[in-house]
Amino acid sequence: MTEPRLGDETGGTPGLTRLVHAVEAVAMGDRTGYEEGTLTVAAAEAAALVADPALAEVRVSWASPGDPTRIVKVLDAVEPRTKGPGGAGVFPGFVGPPKPQGRGETHVLRGASVVTAGYLPRAQEAVVDMSGPAAPLSPLGSTHNLVVEFSPAPGAQWEDVYEALRRGSLALAARLADAALDAEPDAVEELPGLPAAHDRRLPRVAAITNLQTQGSFKEVFVYGRSFPGAALPTLLDPGDLDDGAVVSGQLGHPSLKNPTWMFQNHPVLAALRARHGVDLLCAGVVLSPEPVDSHNKELVSAHAARLCKAAGFDAVVVTKEGGGNADADMALKMDALEELGIPTIGLFAEMAGPDGTAPSIVVPPTTATAMVSTGNYDERLDLPAVQVALGGDRVDVAGAGALDAMVLPTAVIYCSLSPLGWGRLTCREAA
């Protein structure tokens, strides 16, 4: 039915087929279903999927593009996806068993997202506006978001509350996508697997994605397990990320977060795939920890560079998660790769102060020079008043009620400076 893929012809691994169902409208109803672009959710069923002894109450509601709605205290976002009834292996380690995925077909509800929002003690407040100037700065500003709010059970540990929300939102995302299993897809997207080692027709370009590894509330799950700070870098098939092998458990730096939604739609892999077979080969993604001590940062960086060299990568795009400390991981890796003769590009957010004149990069590379700016963390934004707030009734960082007009640093807008490169912000020198 589908044409053979580049990888198949040349001995690479098989790829993944995405069956895309566009979500153009949403509703609450008696039955969960997807029909002709409308996703209907049965609120009680959705809440029941998230229910857990650590949660006293779960509420779901829709926030759609253009609504006068602000979502505050955003925790994570997940794109609804499934590989068959019950998920059939999607989100390995959580919904499915911990097995490699990235093969066969995956149904995607594009334009919808499951969003958890509410108070957790270690979370830095993240804000999404569904209309106004901040809406285009976040991926959630243009998706129909099923917002999951919650009350913790009396005496529940916060770690258990967060774990319940993570499992629940992944199960809910798989369930929503199941509703589209029988629908005709709006688009069929063939994604390449990993190219064969001998495939040198075009330059092999890969992504290195650093994952935050600082324990509870500041960790990332790979196949359901917290990726250890002591791990060495490892190469993954990009399709694995599509199928949810990487899940966020990281609550710091709202603008510099990589939610689960972002790993499912990894923007660097998307950009590499778009040019695969045209002027490059998408050579895969290396996951690397961000250890907290400098010896291990150096160790991991040196290993990542050796792995990339052995895998025959001709160029690499490196990304991070988190604030200034994560710049050191970037800089060390970039320098280590350049020393092995691999041209390296780093995606950095700038921390140039409210007026844009402070030094931009906390730890810049010394030999590598090619950096992309995802925008200035500190520049202020004026947000208008809104009519509906979800996730809480305050934005504490602004000292304001959640409905109020407020001035916020770009740093507070969810994913606005996406380290994985989702956004369209950059910095230019002013006149």
Binding site: A358, M371, V372, E379, W422, A430
Partner: protein, 341 residues
């Protein structure tokens, strides 16, 4: 006609050098000193309406700056010019801070100094253009400055091609391609041989060129200076223990050491127990006197300079350094020992 107000220091205002470095802020109608040549270069569309000047010793400090800015605003400028300050540190800091204060009030402004001047990074949102290194290069420096003034007056952007130096504010803008797409395009550009392409220039780090070695230490006048916040026991001048905005001087003439109980450290950045048990650990006067007696050094300077280096802003730290250097040089000191904690 664009009304220009020009800020210069006491030297270029004709008051004299170090002996006039404490001159108070003053305003004079019309162009003074280098302002006359500047007015000629600017031509008939501009008028240097007033010149404001001040002694270098305190012009960059927080006490006098508001008075300077008030004098400038009294002259109702359409545009303010500061410098050229060349490599003169105190003058450069004053120009930068005057320019920053004026820019913060949305008055167009240009400062001018050498790229190595410590003032370059203190100009805030105000643009700075490069001057030569020394006053001998006044002519070409004023030409750069005049061209920059014309651009700023016309509301045109000032770029590196116009001699602009220092921090240029970086602003968020939205572009068509995602950061990831731009990253991949940059990777292909690198593979195509382009080693220059980047969206973020590598930061400029301060490079301090060490002074030439002292020719004959046995004849040198040597000063002791410290950021260890060592003060007379009662802290009579209230030195801050953190985020210092000031530095102080205390006499050590006739003393052979720093006795416990008479001096103490008020530094907020470390436990001061060991320092206070023997204050020579912060200011090694005992050892320095011994070197003096042995003839290894010529003579010890009669006072020490002190501040608290704890959470100090880079701007203030720069100012202290510039002021200390000027103060020590004026008194004939040839070498200084800076103890840091």
């Amino acid at each position: 006609m664009t009304r220009v107000v020009h800020y210069i220091n006491q030297f270029f205002a004709g008051l004299g050098g170090e002996d006039s470095a404490t001159a108070p802020p003053t305003s004079k109608e019309g162009a003074v000193g280098p302002g006359r040549k500047l007015a000629q270069l600017l031509g008939d569309d501009f008028e240097v309406a007033a010149t404001v000047f001040c002694g270098d010793d305190h012009a960059g400090g927080p006490e006098v700056l508001p008075d300077i800015v008030a004098l400038i605003k009294d002259a109702k400028p359409d545009l303010v010019v500061a410098g050229p300050a060349f490599t003169s540190g105190r003058y450069g800091l004053a120009c930068a801070r005057v320019a920053a204060a004026v820019a913060a009030e949305d008055i167009p402004v240009v400062a001018c100094m050498h790229p190595d001047n410590p003032g370059v990074d203190e100009a805030g949102l105000a643009p700075v253009v490069a001057s030569g290194e020394v006053a001998r290069q006044m002519g070409p420096s004023l030409e750069t400055l005049a061209a920059a003034i014309r651009l700023v007056a016309a509301g045109e952007p000032l770029t590196a091609d116009d001699g602009r130096i220092g921090k240029i504010p970086r602003r968020n803008v939205t572009v068509d391609a995602t950061s990831a797409e731009r990253g991949v395009a940059l990777a292909l550009a690198r593979l195509g041989g382009d080693r220059e392409a980047t969206e973020v220039p590598l930061p400029r780090f301060d490079q301090v060129t060490p002074a030439a070695p002292v020719e004959d230490p046995t004849k040198a006048l040597v000063a002791l200076v410290t950021e260890g916040a060592l003060v007379p026991d009662a802290n009579p001048d209230s030195l801050e223990s953190t985020r210092a905005t000031r530095w102080l001087r205390y006499a050590i003439k006739g003393r052979d050491s720093m006795p416990a109980g008479e001096y103490r450290s008020v530094h907020g950045g470390f436990s001061t127990v060991w320092a206070n048990e023997d204050p020579n650990r912060i200011l090694p006067l005992d050892a320095a006197r011994q070197l003096e007696q042995e003839g290894a050094i010529g003579r010890l300077h009669g006072e020490y300079l002190v501040t608290a280096g704890n959470g100090t802003s880079v701007g203030n730290a720069r100012r202290f350094g510039v002021e200390w250097a000027a103060d020590l040089r004026r008194q004939g000191v040839q070498a200084a020992l800076l103890t840091a904690t």
